[in-house]
Amino acid sequence: MARNTGQPWLVSRRYWLTGIGMAVGSGVLNLAVAACGSASTVSPTAASTPKPTVNAAAAAPAAPTASSAAPAATAPAKAALSGTFTTLGWGDIPYNQAMLDDYAKAFPDKVGNLKFTAEGAKSETEVLTKVLTAFAAKSGVPDFFQQNAPTVPQLIDQGIVAPLDALINPNKDVFSSGLLAALSKDGHPYAFPWRPNTWMMFYRKDLLSNAGIDPTSLTTWDAYIAAGKQYFSKTGGKSWLTYEPTNNGNGQPLEIFMDGLGISYVDPDGKPAAGNNPKMLQALESYQDFLTTKTAEARSEWDAPWYTAIKQGEFATMLSAVWLDNTLKGQAPELKGKWGIVPLPGYSAEKPTLGFQEGSPVLLVTTSSPFKDLAMDVMAYQYLTKDRVIAVAKQRIAQNKGAFPPLLTQVLAEAPFNVPDDYYGGINFFKTNLDLSKNGVTIAFNLHFAETLKTYNSHLDLISAGKETAQQAYDTIGKELAGKLGPGG
């Protein structure tokens, strides 16, 4: 009775309190996100890693090798280990589990009583969140995990990952020196790039032929853009290429231009390249030129419309990396023989853009792992042992999954790596990949790479939308980032 009419003050007080309560409740939820990520959004799934139990005397490590049937880069202690050895990754988790199980079968004396578990996550972001949370909680940290190369400096800074000198130094010739440099700190490599993201240009042979364009003539960006205009006019406005405005999928043109010019988002002195390095202005202008031709189509990727567009021949070329191979073959098997691959154009005809999109997916060993040597040994077995690499490729092809491009040139002479690829008209895809990866470079990954990238990308979106010029972006990005990047970037 009094609640509605008699005592308005009581009404107001009640509702003030209710409102404040609701607002406080909301705040609690928001705060929980920031302060209690482990409780609300993240649940580490990796099993707790116990200390190893060594029951026998340690044996001398085996000599590192990257060839023949000899296993292992650095053999772990020959002792009956026990506990759980955990990996964390995204994507094909059964592949990871098979890698561990096969290693255990091949080297029972090294493995002892260890239990091998391959944990999975939905994405690289989730892997990172799980690792961070587990590391902070000092529980459930995987022994090794997969990430994308750009997060490596942050993980080093956080003390989460251990150097991999014993694994990589004896096999340096396997990798591009530019790639290794991006994954190293103070001369120590911290990440194993098991499948470098080699840049390559995928093109539709039939569509280019119909438009009278010779793919081998696309050696410079000028030639490429001119061909795009020709294609656009001959096809009545069809897209010459597609790209994603924000860099979470296919080849991001700015990164390609940066690789071509040998620069990164942040200069070696830690200053943002935008605003400080004229080559960055050149890269941004290339990006703008690219878009003003109106022959490039910005669109989101990894969704049904994107796949449909590929199938229907909506794009004649795709500036991408080696991983696109599996996507094309999986999504559009009917286009067998219609795709071709050439190197990316460059700023001069003699110098194509050779490099790696965001480096590579990498494997990292955690500092808290009691099985670091074993972790490196597993990687060496899987990716640097000739017979194993060939066996895994055969298995994957038999399972219709497609072989991963190998790191070792020694395997190219053997099946299945010596087989011409009909999807690309009979070229040797794996050899093409390794040829293109020689002398490849990659942008440097600074400590605040994620934030740096987002800042650049937001301005690339504005250039794409015609709301900003390259010069404006160059000036603004530098100022925006200057306040965000600490010493050393």
Partner: protein, 289 residues
Amino acid sequence: MRARRYLTAYLFIAPFYVLFLIFGLGPILFSFYLGFAEWNGTGPLRWIGAQNYAGLLSDGTFVLAVENTLWLWVGHAVPMLPVALALALLLNLRWLRGRAIARAAVYLPNVTGVVPVALAFTLILDPKYGLLSFALRGVGLSGLPWLTDPTYSKWGIILFVIWRATGWYVVVFLAGLQSVDPFLYEAAMVDGAGAWSRFRHVTLPGIAPVLLFAVVIDTIGSMRAFTEPTILTNGGPANSSLTLAMYLYANAFEYAKFGYAAAISYAIFAITLVAALLQLRLWQRQMGD
């Protein structure tokens, strides 16, 4: 003696308080402290005073996130709440046939999973292959880049939020409408009040607390907007749909700047509190008229 007398009762309620202390109050206090520190999530905390809060004021991305969040809130609340009220009035009509089915249909979007529906929306809103663009082309209009252009990205999200949340507010308003004393309507009709007068002078005052509740709840929800923009646009393009909660998440879990993220969380709390109090104040004034 007294404590012993109530010991059993305290033991019964203890689990809630223990859990609240660990997972509620503890993180709140810790995050408040964190707001004055620099922490990468694993190393030592470094006290930096109010630098994080000072940084917010000069952080253009944060300011943009505030603008976007308010934009998304007003953009969906202004059309959605009146539409929800109109639907509730319609579904409250006793003579309406198939009311139960209609009510279920209106509420249905709210019980569907937000992620699959958002993914479906990305397909519907695709400028080339989307159903909406197809329909627009059918009437001679061109499809818009709903999610891929800085000008339209917020509208794509607003469309989705309205589609999904309206049903929930219809149910809330329906409950409010059914709590209005029917004798008041009869008395108003006896006094010669028409439909509009009955709505203006009986219905609206009768459901005023419910309206306030809906507005406040919607405000709180909007300040925490995360899932929809994350799935539909991931905050882009050009941060045009980046919300405060997304920026908080990015700072904490992508940039490893937990101290700054904690400061953002308190900023969200402050903005939400101010917005809720303003609404209460306005409502009080209305009630005073």
